[in-house]
C-alpha cells in the first residue's frame, strides 16, 4: 500500500497588519491508501487551514510559507492554476461544513452534476450525465427523482448527502471531510457517516476527517492526530489514544465528553481558554492549561517522542 497523501513540514501563515500569525506550524503526516486519519482539536487550532492548503484553496492573507504536500506522487505546491483545476476534485475532493454554502441555490442538482462532468471532460451529453448522477444519488440514499430539485427543497441531511455524492463523482483518491455533520442531528449524523464508511470500503479511497467531536472520530478513524495551537501534539491509532493517551491535552479532550455508560462521574474538562496565536509563549504551548506542567514546560519546547505507531510532544507524558 502506498501513501496517498504526504505532508511534510507544512507551515501556513496569515499575514496581518499586526504581524504574521502562524496557524499551522511544522505539521507532517501521511495517509495511506484506504486509510482514514482524523484531525481533532478546538476551533482555531488550524485543522481547517490544513484542509484548505491540501486543496490549495488559500487566498491572501493566508500563505503556505514552506513545506511539501505530495498527493498521489505529485507535489501540488508546484502546480499551476490550470493544472490545479484539473487536479482538484479528480484526485482530492472535499465536503465542507455547511452544505448550504457549497450548492448553488439557483441551479438544480441535475445541472450542477452536469457541470461537474462537463468541466472535467467525462461526458458532454446531458442524458449521460443524468444517468451517472442518478447512480451516485442512489449510493448515498437519495431517490433519483430529486435531481430535478433545487437545494432549498432538500432537507439538511439530504443536502449534505448530495454534496457527498458530488465529492465522490470523479472517484477521488482522497476525500476531505471538514466537520461534515456538525450542523446535523445525531441520528442523521450517524446515518451519513456510516454511509461514507461503507463507500470507503467499497471504493477504496482515503479519508481525512476533521472534527472537534473526538468521540465520533474515535469510532470512525484508524489513526487520530490531536492538534493544539497549530501543532500536532499527539498522533496514534484511535484505540490507543482512547485507552492510553500520552499528551495531557488528548487526555483532557477525551475527558470532555460525558459517557452514556457507567456511573456519572464528575469530569474536569480543560481549564482556561484556547491559546491566542498572536502571543505564543516560550516553551510548550499548552503550559497554561496543563495540569502536569513543570518548570521545564515554560522554558523549552518539547521534543518529539516516538512510539510504535505514533508520536507525541510532551515533557511530562501521562
Amino acid at each position: 500500500m502506498g501513501a496517498v497523501l504526504e505532508v511534510e513540514n507544512l507551515y501556513v501563515d496569515y499575514i496581518t497588519e499586526n504581524g504574521h500569525i502562524r496557524a499551522v506550524d511544522n505539521v507532517s503526516f501521511v495517509i495511506e491508501e484506504g486509510k482514514s486519519l482524523g484531525l481533532a482539536g478546538e476551533s482555531g487550532c488550524g485543522k481547517s487551514t490544513i484542509a484548505y492548503s491540501l486543496m490549495r484553496l488559500h487566498r491572501p492573507p493566508a500563505l503556505i510559507t514552506s513545506g511539501k504536500i505530495i498527493i498521489d506522487g505529485k507535489d501540488i505546491l508546484s502546480l499551476s492554476e490550470n493544472e490545479l483545476q484539473k487536479f482538484r476534485w479528480k484526485k482530492i475532493s472535499m465536503v465542507f461544513q455547511s452544505a448550504m454554502n457549497c450548492l448553488n441555490p439557483v441551479v438544480t442538482l441535475e445541472k450542477q452534476f452536469f457541470e461537474l462532468y462537463k468541466i472535467h471532460g467525462i461526458t458532454k451529453s446531458r442524458k449521460e450525465a443524468k444517468k451517472l448522477a442518478e447512480e451516485l444519488l442512489k449510493i448515498v440514499g437519495i431517490p433519483p427523482e430529486r435531481l430535478k430539485d433545487y437545494p432549498h427543497q432538500l432537507s439538511g441531511g439530504m443536502r449534505q448527502r448530495a454534496v457527498i455524492a458530488m465529492a465522490l463523482a470523479l472517484k477521488p483518491k482522497l476525500l476531505i471531510l471538514d466537520e461534515p455533520t456538525t450542523a446535523l442531528d445525531t441520528v442523521v449524523q450517524r446515518d451519513i457517516l456510516q454511509k461514507i464508511y461503507e463507500l470507503k470500503e467499497k471504493l477504496n479511497f482515503s479519508v481525512l476527517f476533521i472534527t472537534h467531536d473526538i468521540s465520533l472520530m474515535m469510532e470512525f478513524c484508524d489513526t487520530v492526530a490531536i492538534m493544539y495551537a497549530g501543532k500536532i501534539v499527539e498522533q496514534a491509532p484511535s484505540m490507543k489514544i482512547l485507552k492510553n493517551p500520552h499528551h495531557p491535552y488528548s487526555y483532557g479532550l477525551k475527558n470532555s465528553f460525558p459517557s452514556l455508560q457507567g456511573e456519572v462521574k464528575y469530569m474536569e474538562g480543560i481549564p482556561g481558554s484556547p491559546l491566542d496565536l498572536k502571543c505564543i509563549p516560550k516553551g510548550c504551548r499548552f503550559q497554561d492549561r496543563c495540569f502536569k506542567a513543570t518548570k521545564i514546560c515554560f522554558e523549552k519546547e518539547p521534543e518529539i517522542s516516538l512510539l510504535d505507531e505514533g508520536f507525541f510532544f510532551c515533557h511530562n507524558p501521562l
Binding site: S155, T186, V187, Q194, G252, P258, Y266, S273, P274
Partner: protein
Amino acid sequence: MKVEENRKPIFSAKNVTMDFKVARKGIFAKKSTIRALNDISFELYPGEALAIVGESGCGKSTICRIAMRFYKPTYGKMYFNNENIHELKGEKLKEYRQKSQMIFQDPFSSLNPLFNIYYHLKRPLQLYHPSDKETMYKKMDEYLTMVGLTPPKEQGEKFPHQLSGGQKQRAYIARVLAVGADVIFADEPTSMLDVSIRLGILNLLNKLKKEMKKSFIYITHDIATARYFADRIIVLYAGHMVEWGDVDKVICNPKHPYTKLLIAAAPDPEREEKIDLPVIRDKDTEIRQWTPESKGCPFRTRCPEAREICASKCPEAREVESGQFIRCIHG
C-alpha cells in the same frame, strides 16, 4: 412524576398544545396549521434540572418560547408558583420576568458589544435590586467570581469582544444571576462552544443548581450531556413527549424505540461492539410534520415495531417503571 409528595413544583406545564398557522404555496391557497407541541405536561422542582432532548424541529425551543411569553399556547397552561404565566399583570409580571431567565445558545450575540461586562450586570441590579454604588460593585464582583471570571475587577471592565466564547457564556450566566432568576431556561447553552470549554460551563450550571437551588430546563440535542447535568429527562419527538422520567432510567434502559435510536446514534467511543441503527427513513422529509388532524403514533413511520393499531390511535402515557413513562404500546 412526583418524587416527594411534599415538594412543590416551582414551574409546571399542563397539557400545553401549540398550533402555528403557516402559509402554503400560492397566494390563494388556504393556510394550514402545524401542531408544534401536543399535550406537553411537566413539573420542575426547586434545585432540579429537567432536560428536554430531541432532534431539530421537534419543538424543544418552542417550549422555551412559550415559557418566555413569546407565544400564548393554543391549549393548556403554564404555571409559575401556581399562577398562570400568560395571565400575569403588573407587579406579578415583573416578578415573573425576574424569576425566569433564559441562557441562549449563542454567547457571541447575546451580549451588547458596545458595553463592558459591568454594564450588563449593572442594569438588572439597578432595576431589581437598587442599592448604592459601592454595594452594587461588590455584588457584581461576587457574581463574576461565582461564575469563574477572575479577577473580577479586570474582567468586568472588558468588552465582549475581549472575552472568549466560554467566558462570554459565563458573563451571561453572571447576568442571569444578577437578575435573580430562580428558573433558568438554558437553550443549548454549550453547543456553540469549544469542546474543552463545554464541560466547564456544565459544571458551573451544576454548581448553581446544587449550591443556590436554581432550577433548570436544559434544552439540548446531546443526550450525553443531558445525562451528565440533568435529574430528569423528556424525550420529544414531533412535538410529543415520547418518553420521560429519571435520567438514569431513561438513558440506561430506554423503552421507546425513538429513545433507543437516539442513544444508539450518539457517539460513544467506549462502546465496544458495532451498532446497527434501526432506522427507517421517512420518504419525503426527515422531520415529521404534525397537524391537528394527524392521528396515531408520531413515530410510527420510522418505528421498526410499528403495527396497524399505531396508525389509528395516539398511545396513552403509561408508567413502565416507577419514575419512567412512555407513550408507546410496545416496550
